[in-house]
């Protein structure tokens, strides 16, 4: 039985981490695998959550939804299934006090509950609105997240569960069904609220939720758990006085470094954490990117639709940590304690000079180089040159490659939108940075590819020689000749049209029309960039 992969993204940073993980799947780094993903965020309207879920939903549609199958040696090879769970905090569950019903019961019981609550939580912590997350109050967050997960299990057991509750239990059942082969990776930050609160309790909460539903069920003790330990890497506006007075508790990014330190000390000392996790990937960043937003009065954006932070390379490193956890050839650890692992990269001046191996290790660096480069070129070609995948298909058709004529406009639109989210979009004559461009920006220096490939000038992008994205001449095509310019699109089309061995191959297992189209282009790029083995 093959290993089954499960990914859990928690909180705003966790959402951006699973966004990065989804792109890693689109790049084609998870051949032949079905991956179940669970998004957990208390802030249901969070902009990052919305963006990530939209991205995964699009990915799932590209793969054909539930009927889709995993493929290999192409783009979008993994089959993803997204489960969404969001504890609802509103009305009678908006604050800790309301959830805990501290004002109910006998006088004596109320007094006891009050004493216990005061012992654990400050008054402000008990009273702030939870609908924008746990706001860096991890002690409260852990308590409430554990409660929310078990509450969902209870509701589903009693036939009262909402969609999110059922999604959560379906996800847990999948882990249960995978038995010894379950590999679960949890993505989130350890310096904020929701992610930091949930990471320590998730494995135990999943186990207890399963038992609550059926006492005879339990996750296999050979199911392996891993997680990212992402320390502080961004900051935002300090809360203003009136805002603090109004909202009582607001996450203060000045405390993130201390929060990270406290979390690491806690994880190191906590027996439950040490016994449930096999590997913990410590991911950090040497400086803090400023995500302050102009809210008019300079107030902190506590969450909601406005919280739509750009992607950061640290999140991609977390996604790559998940890749390592799933693909690493390391045997299950025999240690009693979780193994904390890290990897470092070379620095040049004030920025890292990343190589592909810095993300996925030596064993997979060539695969990442080949596939990421190909997807970048494909996204660039469709966005800047073709304008849409449907135009590309028409171009093929005009020249007697008619295999994809039945690609529907909806399928093409999903591909277009995905490529725009992955690399960049052209809107009103301007470049809107997508995920890869945002990663490059976050590095603050050279990043894997020719700097011109990340231009914000649409005309420069249109004229970009995508054959020379990589510095390495061994993996370039359409290099400038002594007489005449470089024509990468010319070489791409010639390869597609003239080389019949570029057609999808049986081992790629592509069935759907859009997958066949992607595989055909993938093969052409692999040949052009000289990555074919």
């Amino acid at each position: 039985m093959a290993e089954k992969y499960f990914v859990v993204g928690i909180g705003g940073t966790g959402m951006r981490c699973i966004e990065a993980f989804t792109h890693l799947c689109a790049i084609g780094m998870f051949d032949n695998h079905e991956i179940s993903m669970l998004s957990i965020d208390t802030d249901t309207n969070n902009g990052n959550k919305g963006r990530t879920e939209q991205l995964i939903d699009r990915y799932v549609r590209i793969k054909g939804g539930d009927a889709g199958t995993p493929t290999a040696q192409s783009f979008f090879t993994a089959k993803l299934k997204l489960y969404k769970f969001a504890p609802i905090y509103s009305d009678d569950t908006l604050t800790y006090r309301r959830i805990s019903r501290l004002s109910e019961g006998s006088k004596e019981a109320r007094a006891r509950n009050e004493d216990l609550s005061v012992l654990l939580f400050d008054d402000n912590v008990q009273e702030f609105a939870l609908d924008h997350g746990y706001r860096a109050q991890t002690h409260l967050g852990s308590h409430l997240m554990y409660h929310a997960i078990l509450d969902a299990a209870r509701k589903v057991r009693d036939g009262q569960g909402q969609v999110g509750d059922k999604d959560l239990m379906a996800f847990i059942n999948q882990i249960y069904d995978a038995k010894d082969e379950a590999r679960v990776f949890i993505l989130g930050s350890i310096f904020g609220g929701t992610g930091a609160s949930a990471i320590p309790i998730i494995p135990k909460a999943l186990q207890d939720a399963l038992r609550l539903r059926d006492p005879n069920h339990a996750l296999s003790d050979k199911a392996r758990f891993g997680c990212s330990l992402l320390t502080d890497y961004f900051k935002f506006n300090d809360p203003t006085g009136p805002q603090l007075k109004d909202q009582k508790i607001i996450a203060d990014s000045n405390n993130f470094a201390r929060n990270s330190q406290a979390a690491l000390m806690f994880y190191d000392a906590d027996e439950t954490v040490q016994h449930t996790y096999e590997r913990m990937y410590h991911v950090g960043w040497p400086s803090r990117v400023d995500w302050s937003t102009d809210t008019g009065g300079g107030a902190t954006v506590t969450g909601g639709g406005e919280q739509k932070n750009p992607a950061h390379v640290a999140e991609f490193l977390c996604a790559c940590a998940a890749h390592d956890f799933f693909h690493g050839e390391h045997a299950p650890e025999q240690n009693e304690r979780a193994l904390i692992v890290y990897r470092s990269a070379d620095r040049e001046g004030n920025s890292f000079s990343f190589g592909f191996g810095d993300f996925v290790g030596k064993a997979f660096q060539q695969a990442l180089k080949a596939r990421l480069t190909s997807l970048f070129a494909m996204a660039h070609m469709v966005t800047s040159l073709e304008g849409s995948a449907i135009n590309s298909v028409k171009k093929f058709e005009e020249n007697n490659v008619k295999d994809y004529v039945n690609l529907t406009p909806d399928e093409a639109r999903d591909l277009d939108a995905y490529f725009r989210a992955f690399a960049y979009a052209l809107e009103d004559g301007k470049v809107r940075k997508g995920w890869l461009f945002q990663l490059q920006e976050s590095v603050g220096g050279p990043f894997l590819y020719d700097v011109d490939a990340f231009s914000t000038d649409p005309r420069q992008l249109k004229g970009l020689n995508f054959g020379t994205l990589l510095d390495d001449e061994g993996h370039q095509f359409a290099r400038k000749k002594f007489l005449g310019g470089s024509k990468p699109y010319e070489e791409f089309m010639d390869t597609i049209l003239k080389d019949t061995s570029m057609q999808p191959r049986p081992e790629q297992k592509v069935q759907r029309l859009n997958e066949r189209y992607l595989a055909h282009c993938f093969n052409a790029f692999q040949k052009l960039y000289n990555f074919r083995s």
Binding site: M381, L385, E386, G387, S388, N391, S392, K395, E397, E398, N399, N400, V401, K402, V405, K487, Y489, E490, M493, D494, L497, K498
Partner: protein, 143 residues
């Protein structure tokens, strides 16, 4: 090889002549005209192929590269027909005796038709034989 060499030889022999006075001379001139028409058709096709190759593949919603190649293919045809006519009328016709002029004009017309048919047929065949090349744009398949 011999079959091709003979009319070429005849044609070359004729081009050196100053005057066409007898029906026999005219037959030789007609033969050379037909051979010349075939050679020009082939050469024009080659020129159209080379020029079409120089037109880059164009991406986008309304690429014009295919249209450009078709313009090259069809645009060269009236040019060479006009050139062929000019040559025959300006260079060869004055050499032909007046009683043979009508027949020579017939030869020229047949030569033109031959050139036209050869050019189109060979172009069509080439386009269909190489559908996934730029020559495929000359006669695109119906959608």
């Amino acid at each position: 090889m011999h079959n091709l060499a003979l009319p070429l030889l005849v044609a070359l022999q004729f081009f050196g002549r100053d005057a066409v006075r007898t029906p026999r001379d005219l037959d030789a001139l007609c033969l050379s005209t037909y051979v010349l028409a075939a050679i020009i058709a082939g050469a024009t096709l080659l020129a159209a192929a080379v020029a079409s190759q120089l037109v880059d593949w164009e991406p986008g919603a309304s690429p014009k590269d295919g249209r450009k190649r078709r313009i090259i293919f069809w645009g060269l045809l009236p040019l060479v027909l006009a050139g062929f006519a000019s040559y025959n009328l300006a260079v060869q016709a004055p050499k032909v005796a007046s009683n043979l002029q009508a027949k020579f004009l017939q030869c020229w017309a047949f030569g033109s038709v031959e050139m036209l048919v050869l050019y189109i047929l060979l172009g069509f065949a080439l386009s269909k034989m190489l559908p996934r090349t730029k020559l495929g744009s000359w006669f695109p398949s119906r959608r």
